[in-house]
Symmetry: C2
Subunit: 380 residues, 2 copies
């Protein structure tokens, strides 16, 4: 049996939004699912037990970072990434492509792969589909991602077409390089912001013998309507029987719109990154747009929890907004931890609520209720 399979449990009657189960060598996980990001083999500020306790099933680790430090060979010697970082549930590793392409002038692309300079010590390095897959095999993640280019925005048609075709060849090379039978490989469709290229790419990737399909190159600065349109065109042509993963997306509004268009999996640094900037994610009923900036003076003597009825560690234990504001102003790490725990738990609960709405054919109501509150700040 394949390392990774996807079981479609139910589609919301009105919208087709999907609820399923992702089967991995490290457990079964309910979808829609959000993956916290553990770039350097740790979800920033948190212990693996904390991440597990907040309900996360699969986390994402970055191949680029681990390739450079501590190196995949060290992780392999440690017994693989799960054992190295003490994480017993699922792990998805990205391909490193996104990071090396982000290096701008520090990288050179050829058909073979990408030559780049390490951001740590400036040394010259090379990543290709084969090296990326070998690296991810050594890391021992449950899901490895094919090596691709995330097309920048804006990009002209010719660039998008050339890049998408190369991503397709790299996807095939990635699958051919597979060596770890306990690992499934997801391939990524691209296509820039062009509908015909998105269709072309989704059809191509959808026909490959991969464990799952990802939609890449979105949420890169384009207007959200354009993002939603490109997503729609992509998922339309992806197979029903494989998990669909929208890469790098993690705000609640994007999660709903992704699920509406048939997405099962998400990842994003958003909840942990904004925690480090002192921001709490809350439901739009608590605050339109769902964000509290904890440094604000309004919280000085606010002895209520971040959010009523929240079951995260911070709220459950009655750490107050006033205390968290104090910690953030005083640059205390425990403040970042409380916000990271709260934000990630918020998203875990949010995806679980989406699943429940799908299973009861009430996804439309769920979505409308969310946006009525979310957009209320615009009207007032």
């Amino acid at each position: 049996m394949a390392a990774i399979t996807f079981e479609l449990i139910h589609k919301d009657a009105a919208t087709g939004a999907r609820a399923g189960i992702l089967h991995t060598p490290h457990g079964k996980f309910l979808t829609p699912l959000f993956m916290p990001v553990g770039t350097q083999a740790t979800v920033k500020t948190l212990s693996p037990h904390e991440v597990q306790n907040l309900g996360a099933g699969v986390i994402l680790a970055n191949t680029y970072h681990l390739f450079l430090r501590p190196g995949a060979e060290l992780v392999r010697k440690a017994g693989g990434l799960h054992k190295f970082m003490n994480w017993t549930h699922g792990i998805l590793t990205d391909s490193g492509g996104f990071q090396v392409f982000s290096l701008g002038d520090l990288r050179k692309i050829s058909e073979d792969g990408v030559t780049f300079r390490s951001h740590i010590d400036g040394s010259e390095k090379f990543l290709s589909p084969e090296i990326s897959i070998a690296t991810q095999a050594a890391l021992g993640s449950d899901i490895a991602m094919a090596f691709d280019e995330c097309i920048p925005y804006p990009a002209d048609y010719e660039y998008a077409q050339t890049s998408t075709e190369r991503t397709h060849r790299w996807a095939e090379r990635s699958l051919n390089a597979a060596i770890n039978p306990k690992q499934g490989i997801f391939c990524i469709c691209q296509g820039g912001m062009y509908e015909d290229l998105r269709e072309f790419s989704a059809k191509f990737i959808g026909n490959l013998d991969c464990a799952g399909c990802a939609v890449g190159g979105l949420s890169v600065g384009e207007p959200k309507e354009l993002m939603y349109r490109m997503l729609e065109v992509s998922t339309k042509f992806l197979p029903e029987n494989k998990a669909r993963y929208l890469m790098g997306v993690g705000t609640p509004d994007h999660l709903i719109e992704g699920v509406l268009r048939g997405i099962d999996m998400f990842d994003c640094v958003f909840p942990t990154r904004v925690a480090r900037n002192g921001m709490a994610m809350v439901s739009p009923e608590t605050s339109p747009r769902g964000r509290l900036v904890m440094k604000n003076a309004e919280f000085t003597e606010d002895f209520s929890p971040l959010e009523k009825n929240c079951d995260c560690y911070a709220c459950r234990n009655k750490f107050t907004r006033a205390y968290i504001r104090h910690l953030i102003r005083a640059d205390e790490i425990f403040g970042l931890r409380l916000l990271a725990l709260h934000n990630l738990r918020y998203l875990q609960r949010f995806t679980a609520n989406m699943r429940e709405a799908i299973l009861t054919d009430k996804f439309t109501e769920f979505r409308e209720k969310f946006f009525a509150a979310y957009d209320s700040g615009d009207k007032s």
Copy 2:
């Protein structure tokens, strides 16, 4: 009944080292005890539950920092420091004296108190015995410290004498300012590095009607033999029936030498500060001097825990030296947390072991065994 009492349980037959129980409004705690430092109402990087789980009974919070931010009045409104930071065991607050005296040119001393500039916004502030005690009463700690001057080293005799006499007057004013019946006040003896002044101060402080006695002004840069001598002179004249607290001391060698000279309580930022510098505290049997610098290349492929048989979160869960080295090199906060948990747990176990040695009249053997291993690095 007084808020704070000390029950002397046993003195080691050969040395007189003390094992006792500190009774506080928030529980009974076994001595010798080490207090982790939670300067700004948080033990750096850790949750209160983690600190409690590692066995800490009393923590120290800094009045200077909390006076400036968030302000004692806010903490009082929050229900006191225990509730504000979610800590259910004991809290000792210092007086703020040490910090304002450390400000150098930014402070002016008068008989009345100290005028200083805030390190946060430069605004002019004033602390006196009365204001310090009122602030600590508002914070609601179990133990408040009298306002004193920690005499710098070196200091000439006249300075030391003048300062010590002022500290005595301030101690009396501190006791007269007491307003919180649920709080005990400890007074601090000084005396610089002069035996006669130490004796004079210990006798004076020992005769005050305070809840406990502290020895201040040590571990300020003087040779350790001088520190031990001054400590000996001080404790000799302190009453047997009150807890004795050696301020700002927290390395294992100093703890042993302090307990040998009749000390019951310690605090120090050492274990959490060196954690943030990537250092693990281990027994001298594991490494002479008891320190591992985790960035060192020797740990690159070291898949053993920080210390065999350690029951801290990091070691119990088999986080390896190689993983912790990776986290520290990558500036990941979880690495600091693992080292803070390990170091503080090491000291909790260390003080518990000292207590056990005292109760069985084996403190001399305990001490000799420790130093034989500790000093073995010097001989090799």
